[in-house]
């Protein structure tokens, strides 16, 4: 029975064609691209309003320079949101249960933030390694710990997403039987 439970997470292929690409590209169909209209149909209006509010909330704590990240962050979040929600329906495959996909998101993003931070403000970036208000004797230990946590971060992020989704699907299967 344990084998059956994990069968749902095999990457689907049919006649040798990997279907995971369809699963990844499918959400693109659900968001029609906007025209130059001032007033749109209901779907586009609702989606537009949702994205606007989402981006506004996302960019609240950031200053002007951080707004450059709006596009990539919003598209990442909407992609993951739609893929995970679609995975709730029966007969679907959730690509984010595959560790490869999640690491493919986690490592580049993490690396980009670290390298950009080091390039633009090296002092502040290195300063993040030491939290404020630490007692002086603890400083060397804490720096080592923070460095380790920094490097583990992509693995943590990727594995976290994979584990959450896989666990969720498994739980649904277990409860269903």
């Amino acid at each position: 029975m344990a084998l059956n439970f994990f069968d749902q997470f095999l990457s689907p292929t049919h006649l040798g064609i990997p279907l995971v690409l369809i699963a990844m590209i499918f959400p693109w169909v659900l968001y029609p691209s906007p025209s130059n209209r001032w007033l749109n149909n209901r779907l586009v209006t609702l989606q537009g309003q949702f994205f606007n509010r989402f981006t506004q909330q996302l960019l609240l704590p950031l200053n002007q320079g951080g707004h450059k990240w709006a596009l990539i962050l919003l598209s990442l979040m909407v992609f993951l949101l739609s893929i995970n929600m679609l995975g709730m329906l029966p007969y679907t495959f959730t690509p984010t249960t595959q560790l490869s996909l999640n690491m493919g998101f986690a490592v580049p993003f993490w690396l980009a933030t670290v390298i950009i931070g080091m390039r633009n403000q090296p002092t502040a970036a290195l300063g993040h390694l030491l939290p404020e208000g630490t007692p002086v004797p603890l400083i060397p230990v804490l720096i080592i710990i923070e460095t380790i946590s920094l490097f583990i971060r992509p693995i943590a992020l990727g594995v976290r997403l994979t584990a959450n989704l896989t666990a969720g699907h498994l739980l649904i299967q277990l409860i269903a039987t």
């Binding site: 968001y31 906007p34 025209s35 149909n41 209006t45 309003q49 029966p90």
Partner: protein
Amino acid sequence: MLSRLVLTSGSALKNSGSFGACVVQASRSIHSSPQSKAPLPPLPEKGGKIRHGIFPEELFSLLYPKTGVTGPYMLGTGLLLYMLSKEIYVINHETFAALSISSVIIYGIKKFGPGVAAYADKLNEEKVAKAQEVKDVAVARLAQAIEDEKKEQWRVEGRHMLFDTKRNNVTMLLETNYRERLHMVTSEVKRRLDYQVELQNLHRRMEQEHMVNWVEQNVVKSITPQQEKESIAKCISDLKVLAKATQARAAV
């Protein structure tokens, strides 16, 4: 959707120094809407007609000439039974999950569908209302300006009356002023003349008195003592005669 974000944040990205050039190329390739400037046809009022929530009405009208009203339903039933009987669609535990999830989704759509549609319509209505309000305010302001202009024109027409009144006013003031001064002049002249008249009167009176005094003095001087005695004796005799006459009248 993504292209909308690119449109709004494209300029921000392009301004970021180091990735400036390659991002311009990337955003060009993401634009999926047509780049032509031709005007768009207007959106239809309602969406396409559908039956049972999923099947477009065109399918039914397509099959109607050949198979009548029940055609598409027979097609659907036939396909379903074919897939079930040939085990192309295998009934497993996921079928039950699919049935449960679809019933929940249908219930949700039926219950909250109109609400969500009304919300989406409200968003559009608010957009239109905001623009309409701007237009209405502008129109109202212009109408007010027209009315003010008309009122000013009417005021200009009545301006001549104002000027007439002012002219009259000024004339009256001048007239009054002239009369006052005339009166002053006449009164001054009269005063001078009165003075002269008084002076002449005074002269004549003084001459009269002087003359009378002189005459009196001369007369008094010219009365001799003998004349005085004769006049006194005459007076006494006259008095006696008078006394007699009076007594006689009193006795009668």
